[in-house]
């Protein structure tokens, strides 16, 4: 698959075959991601890491991925530190940064910001999350983690639980899993269910998702339990947040009903959705999932910037 010089803005831009080729390359990146082997294939390249919204894992894993491949990084971590705070448009910021680097990674609070950046930038742009919109590299690392844990992505029973309305990771993930014939169960309070727009889209692709508010009812069916944080910062009304905060909390007693090989994932950060006691169980894959951001992003950087492993 030819990823050279391509933008990665939405998971919808990728076919199943393209996703699989990135996951295969990510697998090859594992020994380099851990530092067991060394490769400087992107030496001389510069990554522009623009994070206009708080992020720990995504930002650091892109930096780590770049450094592991010998690529230099210039970065912005706060909007207040940029000319955007002086009234500069994002379009102008992008055109300026584009001149300083070979690839732009953008995290931005407004939906569609990455598409705008891709339109104004000559160099490729990777969307690292735009508002409640897309976060395609998170989806890729989620798929990578599932494939690593379960051996295959085909036909998995995946239960998505928590904030399915504002949680951008689950929107892209649901769409991507549909490409692999997954059976999806959507567990959320009625006010936080998956938007109709996304549900209709995955139905058009042949998926028939089941919606419920009860996690207990579906726990025994899951191959993968994908838990998300109910995101206080995305609620327009704090009172609405209080009504649903803490609705789902996974602990060891709940897991008695789960299949022995069921895996729990979470895009992190977590607040109280998963009790710390679960961390030691065989089910817990969320820290591995966070690490997997490095090999997956290494694969993307390498493929887009034309590095050969």
């Amino acid at each position: 698959m030819d990823f050279y010089d391509r933008d990665v803005v939405s998971i919808r831009d990728l076919t199943r075959e393209e996703i699989e080729s990135i996951l295969d390359l990510s697998e090859k990146m594992m020994p380099y991601a851990t530092g067991e082997k060394v490769n400087r294939v992107l030496h001389g390249k510069i990554l522009g890491n623009l994070f206009f919204e708080p992020s720990t894992r995504t930002k650091l894993s892109f930096e780590s991925a770049a450094y592991r491949l010998g690529c230099d990084v210039i970065d912005v971590s706060e909007m207040s530190m940029t000319s955007i705070s002086k009234g500069e448009t994002l379009a102008d910021t992008i055109r300026m940064v584009d001149a300083y680097c070979d690839l732009i990674v953008l995290r931005h609070p407004y939906e569609g910001a990455a598409r705008l950046a891709a339109n104004f930038s000559i160099n490729p742009v990777i969307n690292a999350g735009d508002g409640a919109g897309s976060h395609p590299t998170q989806t890729l690392l989620d798929l990578f983690t599932m494939r690593q844990a379960k051996g295959s992505l085909d036909g998995l029973n995946v239960v998505l639980v928590g904030d399915l309305k504002y949680g951008r990771t689950v929107h892209s993930l649901a769409e991507a899993l549909t490409m692999f014939g997954a059976k999806l169960t959507l567990v959320a309070p009625d006010t936080l269910q998956m938007p109709d727009d996304i549900v209709n889209h995955i139905k058009e692709k042949g998926c028939r998702p089941v919606k419920t508010t009860s996690l207990e009812e579906v726990m025994d069916k899951a191959d993968v339990l994908y838990v998300t944080r109910i995101q206080k910062e995305r609620f327009p009304d704090p009172a609405e947040y209080k009504k649903v905060a803490g609705t789902y909390r996974i602990n060891n007693s709940m897991l008695r009903e789960a299949r022995r090989d069921m895996v729990i994932m979470h895009p992190l950060p977590r607040i109280d959705e998963i009790a710390p006691e679960v961390d030691a169980s065989e089910h817990a894959k969320y820290f591995q999932q966070a690490f997997n951001g490095v090999p997956v992003r290494m694969a993307l950087l390498c493929a887009i910037l034309g590095g050969e492993l």
């Binding site: 939405s10 448009t89 407004y110 939906e111 569609g112 598409r115 735009d130 919109g133 727009d197």
Partner: protein, 157 residues
């Protein structure tokens, strides 16, 4: 008096101007909004809402605007809310031109995204862009934020 004559009395012919016919029932008022009809208009405008169609058994709306020919942008906006509309340019009581509006695959700069958090609503130097995902009924998806456009007539620019 036959039905045809009665119809002509309901909505009189115009000497010069434009007839927008086969508008989906209920959309005539939105067409007037697109035309920018207000109290300062010089043109005479006739509106027929829920009138019978000679072409089919269905009902339709019709708008006649005198001494005015529409620009392409206005025609494109009408196509968004009335995809079956026909436009007739009338000169000296005769139909000088007649065509059906067409909706392309992409809609540029005609509507704003209904997502307030979409980058296209944030004073960036860009034109809005939507992909047509359905034609009957018309459904558009924002090319920037991927959100389906809700209530097209309320979001026309």
């Amino acid at each position: 008096m036959d039905v045809k004559t009665i119809k002509e009395i309901k909505l009189a012919p115009i000497r010069n101007g434009t007839v927008i016919d086969h508008i989906a029932t209920g959309q005539a008022l939105n067409v007037l909004k697109i035309l920018g009809v207000n109290e300062y208009m010089d043109s005479t405008i006739s509106v027929g809402i829920h009138v019978s169609s000679r072409k089919s058994a269905e009902w339709k709306d019709i708008v006649k605007i005198e001494d005015c020919e529409l620009d392409q942008k206005t025609v494109d906006k009408i196509a968004l809310i009335a995809p079956d509309a026909t436009i007739s340019i009338i000169r000296d009581y005769y139909v000088a031109e007649k065509f059906t509006v067409t909706l392309g695959d992409r809609v540029m700069g005609l509507a704003k995204c209904c997502n307030p958090n979409c980058i296209t609503n944030k004073n960036e130097p860009i034109e809005t862009e939507f992909v047509v995902i359905s034609r009957r009924p018309t459904k558009l998806r924002c090319s920037y934020c991927d959100r389906a456009l809700c209530n097209i007539s309320d979001n026309l620019l």
